[in-house]
Amino acid sequence: MNEQTIPASGTPASGKTGYNFAYLDEQTKRMIRRTILKAVSIPGYQVPFGSREMPLPYGWGTGGIQVTASVIGPDDTLKVIDQGADDTTNAVSIRRFFARTAGVATTDETGEATVIQTRHRIPEEPLKHGQILVYQVPIPEPLRWLEPRESETRKMHALQEYGVMYVRLYEDISKYGHISTAYDYPVIVNSRYLMRPSPIPKFDNPKMDNNPALQLFGAGREKRIYAVPPYTSVKSLDFKDYPFEIQKWEEDCALCGAENSFLDEIIIDDQGGRMFVCSDSDYCQKRREAGYRGKDPSAPRGNELLDDAAESA
C-alpha cells in the first residue's frame, strides 16, 4: 500500500467506469480503514463494520473485496487467487473487477504483488515485508459451529472462554485417535484471541505465524474484519501429547516435482486414475521454469483442458 497515492476524499470517478477508484466511495473506505486499524491493534479480534452491498454476491469474496478496495492504491500490483490458483473463475472475476474499477496492475506472481487477495490458500512462496494478504472469509467466528449465537460467542471471546474448542479437539482424539479438522483449523493469535483462519487447509497454518506480511481478513456478509499484523504469533491449537501436524502426501507434484507444496488431486479418467499437482499455480509454474520436473511434466492442468475445449468448440 502506498499512502500518498490514495486519492483524497471526493476524488472524482476513475476513468470511464462512472464509479470511484476501486468502486467504494472514499467515506466508506475511510470507515473500513478505521476498522482495519482497530483490527490491527487487537490482533485476531473480529471488528464489526458497516459492510456494503457489493455488485458481487455475498459469500463470493465481498469482505475481501471491500478490504482490498480500501487499502489498494493506483501504484499497487494485485494478485487474486482462489484455491491457490490465479485462473479459477472467481479469482478471474475479482481480478477483472479491480482491473476495471481501479485500473491497477495485476499479476500472477506472488513476489511481484503488493496486495494479494486469496480464498482458501496462502501462497507457497514466502511473503515479504510490505505485502498485504487479504483473505476472503465466509464465517469469521471460530466458535460458530459450537455456539450459533453471536451474543454468546462475543462474551466467550471477552472472557477468553475457549475450553469448548479444546473439548471438541479432545473429542476428535478420543473418537478417531487424532484431531480430524483438516481445514479451518483454529488458531490463537498473539496469545489472546481464538481466530478462524478462513477455510485454509491446516497445511497453511504455520505460514501465518510470525509472517512479515500484513494479513487482513474480510467477512462481508457477516460484517466483520480481523487482522494478524506482521511478525505476530499465530499458534494452532493442540495438546502436548498430540502436537499440531500438517497434511502430507505420498506423492510429489506430477508437474514440477515439489515435495512440500499443497497438492490438488486431478481426476484424469473414470477408471480411478488421478494425478497430484500443486494447488499454487504460480509456484508450480516458477519451479518448472527453473527446470524442475515431476513424473508427468507434460500433463495438462485442469484449466488447460477447458481452454482446449473452448478452442475446439
Binding site: 452491498e53 455488485p55 459469500g59 453471536e150 491446516k202 488431486e265 484449466n303 477447458l306
Partner: protein, 365 residues
C-alpha cells in the same frame, strides 16, 4: 467434469454472451419494455422495490428485465445499485393516517369510520385460469365503475380508535428527532432495537417471513393476531432541509401498511391490553406486510416479558436469516471451487478408513 470449474477469462466472457442471448429469447418476439413490466407486472415491481429497499419503479422494472424475472436476482441488482447512492437526508415519518386510500380493510370491525374499501384485490378472485388473457388481442377489460361517493379523506386508523379507549398499547413514544438506525450502514448488534428489527423485516425475504409468520400461527409462539387494519394507497414524503427549517413535499409513494392487534395478558405492572405488530411495504405487498406484522409482534416477546421458545421469537435466528441477497449469495457460493478443503477432507477420510481397516483386521486375527 469438476475441473471445468477452473475456467479462464474467455469462458466467463462466453458465458456472459450466452446469458445475454438467453435473456433476449426468440428475436421474433418483440422486446419486453420497461413500461410493460411497470404496468403489467406491477406487484413484482413492488416486491423488488420493497426487498431492494429503494422506491424506484423504473429501476425495479429494469432489474426484473435484466434478471429474466428472477425476483431475488432483481433485488440483488437493485441493492447493489442503491449502495452507491449518496444520502441527501432523512425524511420525516410518513403519516399513513393521511394516506390517499386505495384499499382499506379491517377484520376487527364490521363497519368503522371511512368504511371498508376493497380496492383491487385477488382475495375474491376464483383461481381459475382466465384463458381470455392468453389472447393478446383482448386488451381492454370492462371498466371498473366509479364509487358513488368519494373515499373519505383522512381515514382514522383502527389502532388510533382503540387507543382512544386505552385498550391498546401506545405507539412508540420516542421523539421524531431520534436518529433511526440504518442496517445498510451499521452492522446488526444484539439485542436489536425495534427500528432495526423493522428495517430488517421490511428488507427481508417475503417467503421467509411468510413461513415464520405462519409458524407462529401454527403454535410455534402464538401471538393471537387480528388483522386490525390493512391499508394501501399513496402517502406524501416530506423532508425538512436544515437550511430551510420547514418541511417540503418531495413526492408520493405507494405503501401497504398492516397493523396487527394481538392479545396480551398483562403483567404485574401493565393491565391487560392489546399489543401491536407492524408491517409496512412499498407498493402493493399485502402478504409481505401481514407476515412482517406477525413476525414483528413475535420478536417483541422479550420486551413484553413473554417466554421465547419458538423460532419466530428468536431475534438472532430471525434477523440473521431474513436477507435473501445474503442467503442466496452464501448458499450459491457452494458452487465455487472447494477443492483445497475437499482435498484436505479426502486425505483425512482416506487415513481414517486406513486406520479403520487396520483395526478391523487386528480384531479379526
Amino acid at each position: 467434469m469438476y475441473v471445468a470449474v477452473k475456467g479462464g477469462e474467455k469462458a466467463i466472457e462466453n458465458s456472459l454472451k450466452l446469458l445475454a442471448e438467453e435473456r433476449r429469447g426468440d428475436s421474433n418476439v418483440p422486446v419486453l419494455t420497461l413500461e410493460q413490466i411497470k404496468s403489467q407486472m406491477a406487484i413484482a415491481v413492488d416486491r423488488v422495490m420493497t426487498e431492494g429497499s429503494i422506491y424506484d419503479r423504473d429501476l425495479a422494472a429494469l432489474a426484473i428485465k435484466q434478471a429474466q424475472g428472477d425476483i431475488i436476482e432483481a433485488v440483488f441488482l437493485l441493492r447493489a445499485y442503491r449502495t452507491t447512492l449518496p444520502r441527501f437526508g432523512v425524511s420525516k415519518p410518513v403519516d399513513t393516517a393521511k394516506m390517499a386510500i386505495r384499499r382499506r380493510i379491517s377484520a376487527t370491525y364490521k363497519d368503522l369510520p371511512g368504511g371498508q374499501v376493497l380496492g383491487p384485490t385477488y382475495d375474491y378472485t376464483h383461481r381459475l385460469l382466465d384463458f381470455d388473457l392468453a389472447d393478446h388481442h383482448v386488451n381492454r377489460p370492462e371498466a371498473a365503475p366509479t364509487a358513488p361517493r368519494a373515499v373519505a379523506d383522512g381515514m382514522p386508523r383502527v389502532t388510533d380508535i382503540l387507543n382512544s379507549e386505552g385498550l391498546i398499547e401506545e405507539e412508540a413514544t420516542e421523539p421524531e428527532t431520534r436518529q433511526v438506525a440504518d442496517l445498510t450502514r451499521e452492522p446488526l448488534d444484539f439485542p436489536a432495537d425495534r427500528d432495526v428489527r423493522l428495517q430488517n423485516l421490511a428488507r427481508g425475504d417475503e417467503g421467509f417471513l411468510l413461513a415464520l409468520g405462519y409458524s407462529s400461527q401454527r403454535g410455534y409462539g402464538n401471538t393471537h393476531p387480528f388483522a386490525g387494519e390493512i391499508r394501501m394507497g399513496k402517502v406524501s414524503v416530506e423532508i425538512e432541509p436544515e437550511e430551510l427549517g420547514f418541511a417540503i413535499d418531495i413526492g408520493d409513494i405507494q405503501l401497504t401498511e398492516c397493523q396487527m392487534i394481538n392479545q396480551f395478558q398483562g403483567t404485574a405492572e401493565t393491565p391487560p391490553q392489546f399489543t401491536r405488530g407492524y408491517g409496512l411495504a412499498f407498493g402493493q405487498c399485502e402478504r409481505k406486510a401481514m407476515a412482517m406484522a406477525l413476525v414483528d409482534r413475535s420478536l417483541r416477546s422479550r420486551e413484553l416479558g413473554e417466554e421465547t421458545t419458538s423460532p419466530a421469537q428468536d431475534e438472532e435466528f430471525v434477523l440473521y436469516h431474513t436477507d435473501n441477497v445474503e442467503a442466496s449469495g452464501f448458499l450459491q457460493h457452494l458452487k465455487l471451487p472447494h477443492y483445497v478443503d475437499f482435498q484436505s477432507e479426502l486425505e483425512l477420510v482416506r487415513r481414517l478408513r486406513g486406520e479403520y481397516e487396520a483395526r478391523r483386521q487386528q480384531t479379526a486375527e
